[in-house]
Point group: C2
Chain length 238, copies 2
DNA sequence: GGACCGGGTTGATTTGCGTCAACGCCGCAT
DNA sequence: ATGCGGCGTTGACGCAAATCAACCCGGTCC
């Protein structure tokens, strides 16, 4: 009976969203800790959502009722001060996991900067799943430890690097397909991520272009032209 | 046979260091995830060390062979740039856990700012322990998630707060026994933690005293005199 | 005692980045 | 076509914090 009920829910979920087995994000996400035979149970707990660009789907301070797994698109994660100052603490792309916080409320807000597909889990149900699949818990610990390392790197950037070094670090970290860097976020987002203003971001990119370190074919696309020099700059070598 | 061997090692460890059952840090550390009957196994894997103030016991970039648990004293954790610029990413006190990083090398350095006692575990052996005690793994995940929340808070501070707000936040966060704030670290450490210079730290503390928000009976001790005002300042309210 | 040294405070000056402002580009709606 | 609003760039100017420098204080080692 219980088994049937689980199966039935799995079928419902599969009908409503892409089943986990076919999920494009699976190999890149925490879900790859789950073996194929158990994916049905995972799908039964998941809820697929489509989110338009610009929609804020996590509000800082709200009761944390869900975990999220990004299956398409990109989100910005941020904290705000009462007068409107904003710090973007990170960008979440395909495979990234959101809502790890143990506390009862979200410690940050999240807003889609591109159309997104996300996989939503109820907090309470996932607890059960964690108990059943220690491998998932181990994977989450790995993910959290990695995030922590990146957070420390970002603290070094925010506390001690110059504007030029910050932009260089940002571009090096985001470069993926060859020398092209895709920038789905606005200059304002980049500024709030690097602890700068939009004007300084713009001026600094212009300066990097003047030094022949990058090219700027479009506002949302940058090409790295002299990677070694950019890496030296990012590392703080004078 | 196997059980005997484990017991024997537990006895050896108990002789060499304080047994976990009597450890003053236990209730405050990750070790409280372990039940008393299993503490002997924990003690068998632990290695107690005494570290004098000023000694760096983790070198950034070194092979990460150990985990550490602080049982007395305080350490500063930091990252450096090649020209000497330094960012302190946190302070580790009694009960804190160091070396979570999954990567093969330490992502930060650690130096004692007071005489310390630490409990050292071999990375490889702890892996075994984690497999045996899922509760420990769950506890580590909680700890990591908490660290992540604090790291995001620090990014907001470093990226968007003024010098006055940074010092106010620092003092509010460190206040523990009543209104007294103990500062075992130097002004240079505070500056490197808050992304400022020692001169700005000194001047800003003097300014806070002038506003009657704090008193400075000694360089290493500050008393909060107007907590609500200090909290407003820390929160960024103008 | 006194020379020395590391840590801390305070003052004068500089500077990197922020602020304020103008303008160009592009997509879109009417 | 035309006006409009969001985004990005560039220039002039201002300011918070960095830099440079002098000095104080309390240990400690001759």
């Amino acid at each position: 009976m219980a088994a049937f009920s689980v199966r039935a829910r799995a079928v419902d979920a599969a009908a409503a969203i892409e089943p986990c087995g076919h999920c494009g994000a699976r190999t890149r996400s925490v879900c790859n800790a789950i073996e194929a035979p158990d994916l049905a149970r995972l799908a039964a707990l998941a809820h697929g959502l489509t989110i338009p660009a610009g929609r804020q789907f996590i509000e800082e301070g709200d009761a944390a009722e869900h975990f999220f797994n990004v299956t398409a698109g990109t989100a910005k994660l941020f904290k705000m001060l009462p007068d409107g100052r904003r710090q973007i603490t990170g960008f979440a792309g395909v495979g990234d996991f959101l809502g790890l916080a143990v506390s009862a409320t979200y410690a940050f807000g999240a807003e889609a900067i591109e159309p997104m597909r996300i996989c939503r889990f109820s907090r309470s149900r996932l607890k059960t799943l964690l108990a059943d699949f220690p491998a998932l818990e181990r994977r989450l610990l790995e993910v959290a430890a990695n995030e922590l390392v990146m957070a420390q790197e970002q603290m070094l950037l925010l506390g001690r690097k110059t504007a030029r070094e910050r932009l260089a670090s940002f571009l090096i970290a985001r470069q993926s397909h060859g020398d092209a860097v895709r920038l789905p976020m606005t200059r304002s987002d980049i500024a709030d991520y690097l602890g700068l203003t939009i004007e300084t971001v713009s001026r600094t990119l212009t300066w990097l272009r003047g030094q022949r370190l990058i090219e700027i074919p479009a506002a949302a696309e940058i090409v790295i032209r002299d990677r070694p020099a950019l890496e030296r700059l990012a590392a703080g070598l004078r």
